[in-house]
Symmetry: C2
Subunit: 152 residues, 2 copies
DNA sequence: TATTGTTATACTCTATAACTATA
DNA sequence: TATAGTTATAGAGTATAACAATA
């Protein structure tokens, strides 16, 4: 007979609702900084490295190039990002955070993360907190193919 | 000066894409059993306890009562669930898993979880696996109000 | 001809409102 | 009248297709 498997809920069945609930809880924090979730995602992405096309940006944050345009337009008109044609190839846009954009992003992220820190501190035993965050970071850093791999 | 905060990505920014990727990777497994994600969610929910109204079921799995109807109809016509009017109040439906429904659910869940187990075994150090699962279970079991609590 | 960004269109998913049948 | 379930309609979010500018 097969080895007994300790019963647990499916990973996805835990991750997805938790992610949704957390997102919903954090939207008001973003709103205080005038940011939608997509706008915030853009600001976070531009933090990592300056980007050389809107399509590349869209793909890297899981959006698509058509629906990110109005987000970029709004951010640009607020002065949070700059969007200039690449002199080398004027079809593509160079996207960068402005100092003000950097400030707003940091303020928003600080609000988000300090709330998350309180949440973790309040509900998770200290011994689980670091392993949880480390494991989550590991899994979320996996390329999507890792999860789809049929040989897994 | 404020204490240095070890930089990390936002919790939600890790949870949501991971949940999506995992869901996408698992959809084909469900499809092999003829199940959509919502149908699977229904079967899982009916496992826990027999339910006494479609609206209650819908709410408990994060759907709404209108869009769950066709899912229930399909499951019923396949003989995976029974849907009978409550004799005490013929407006409400009593929802229960049939033996065949239980069989299909177990088969699907077994496929899902054994894949998840392989994923965890492959990418997570053994010392992190249990703490990760335990912490995730804890957080996902929190009532949504816990996350929204302004006093947190 | 191919590609970036944009605009326009279609589609899917979800939410709201109206309807029926019971109570 | 009020509620469970259903059906019909509307809306938001997303994806697809067509277009203009540049290469």
């Amino acid at each position: 007979m097969a080895a007994a498997r300790e019963p647990r809920r499916d990973l996805a069945a835990m991750l997805v609702p938790l992610g949704r609930a957390l997102t919903a809880a954090e939207l008001p924090l973003l709103a205080e900084h005038g940011l939608s979730m997509w706008a915030y995602a853009v600001l976070l992405r531009l933090e990592a490295e300056p980007l050389r096309s809107q399509a590349a940006l869209a793909e890297s944050i899981g959006a698509d190039k058509t629906r990110i345009i109005e987000v970029l337009t709004a951010l640009e008109s607020r002065g949070l990002i700059s969007r200039t044609p690449d002199p080398a190839d004027r079809r593509v846009r160079l996207l960068a955070l402005t100092p003000e954009g950097s400030r707003v992003r940091d303020a928003a992220q600080s609000a988000i993360q300090s709330r998350e820190d309180r949440l973790l501190a309040h509900y998770l035993p200290p011994t689980q907190r670091t392993p949880f965050l480390t494991a989550l970071a590991t899994l979320s850093a996996l390329p999507p193919e890792s999860l789809t791999d049929p040989d897994l």
